[in-house]
Subunit: 197 residues, 2 copies
DNA sequence: GCCGAACTTGACCGTACGGTCAAGTTCGCG
DNA sequence: CGCGAACTTGACCGTACGGTCAAGTTCGGC
């Protein structure tokens, strides 16, 4: 789609489509949700959809990219001005968990997007940025002797994994308090099972 | 489907359908893979599919359930005769990682199945069994004072999360050595980042 | 008040989907 | 051999999908 000129009215309509589609995709899945479902749900004609998006796929990728950008911004804001690299990791994790709590639907979309090659590329790109951010802090912490010297990328992936599963189970299946979940994620990431070997 | 009587030939055909469908579902996704794709790929008529399965959905759920059972058996075999609960956790995790390495396609199917309500029920059931197994060992370890006293379910979920993400990234995107990945997963699970606080 | 760009409508198109079924073939067994 | 159950075929069905488009409406700027 060659970016259209949008009036305020158009921008609002576009945002409305994105919001409603996100909701439906998260609730029913990407494939089971048809373009007809989306426009009918909003009570508009089908042409409206194709005025703002060139395809269902394009809309989905747009949702993913916007969400990834938003998540990263949130994490960066959370660690602004903090020098201690270990603390930066912790604050980044907390911010990520809280973002997931507020955007449960987007988290579900992320999980689906990873499973289909069409969207996996976009997901990997965004994910590797977040992992890269974490790796930077972890490297710094290791250099400063604050953390034992282990593969920082593996550590970052571990953090990602704990966050994914805990947010899924605790937010999606139960309705746990976000702060409590953030504590659980941070605890596990910092100390794991706490086994001394 | 009211379980049909199968001759050896029939059992083989059924297994062939399951194997090929698993491959295609994992490669292209569940929805993008049509029943026609599956039967065409095997060079058989469409009726063959519906002789063995009452629907595409039923086949998929069957694949999931069989896989979950197989994974659990593998883990149970791995910890057979081991008394130390911490060691049981570690061996279970290693077995899980190695199973994922050998069944990358099934792992991908698991990830998709979690994202669609139709299959999420079946997935949660199987997953909660595995988590329950781990929780038992963790509780025992805590009682014995081998691990600090923390919510065992959260710990089990943490393990699950680390396993999921590391197997995805290291097996799917790169072709890492399974044993090495198992080490990374176990390390992270046992000690996390290794931060002393 | 008018013009063009922004926006909206909904009938329509080709296709491909999941699933059915009447008919035919293979095969083990008595 | 022969018969019934197991298995296979592929044309066919209704539907619903993603996407198009000619036509009409709204609206801001001049």
């Amino acid at each position: 789609m060659t970016a259209r000129k949008l009036t305020p009215r158009g921008r609002e309509r576009r945002a409305q489509l994105i919001a409603y589609a996100t909701e439906r995709f998260a609730a029913d899945g990407y494939h089971p949700t048809s373009v007809a479902d989306i426009v009918d749900g909003l009570g508009v004609g089908k042409g409206v959809f194709y005025w703002y998006f060139s395809s269902k796929e394009e809309l989905f990728i747009e949702i993913l990219r916007t969400a990834q950008r938003d998540l990263r911004r949130r994490q960066q804001r959370a660690i602004e001005g903090v020098e201690d690299p270990v603390r930066r990791v912790e604050l980044g994790v907390r911010a990520g968990v809280l973002w997931m709590a507020e955007h449960n639907d987007l988290r579900r979309l992320f999980e689906f997007a990873r499973t289909e090659e069409t969207f996996a590329r976009a997901m990997r790109a965004g994910q590797s940025v977040l992992v890269g951010d974490a790796v930077d802090h972890l490297k710094a912490a290791i250099v400063e002797g604050r953390l034992p010297d282990r593969d920082p990328e593996a550590l970052a992936l571990g953090i990602l994994g704990v966050t994914n599963v805990m947010t899924t189970v605790y937010f999606d299946e139960r309705r746990e308090d976000p702060e409590h979940v953030a504590d659980l994620v941070v605890d596990f990431c910092m100390e794991g099972l706490g086994a001394r070997r």
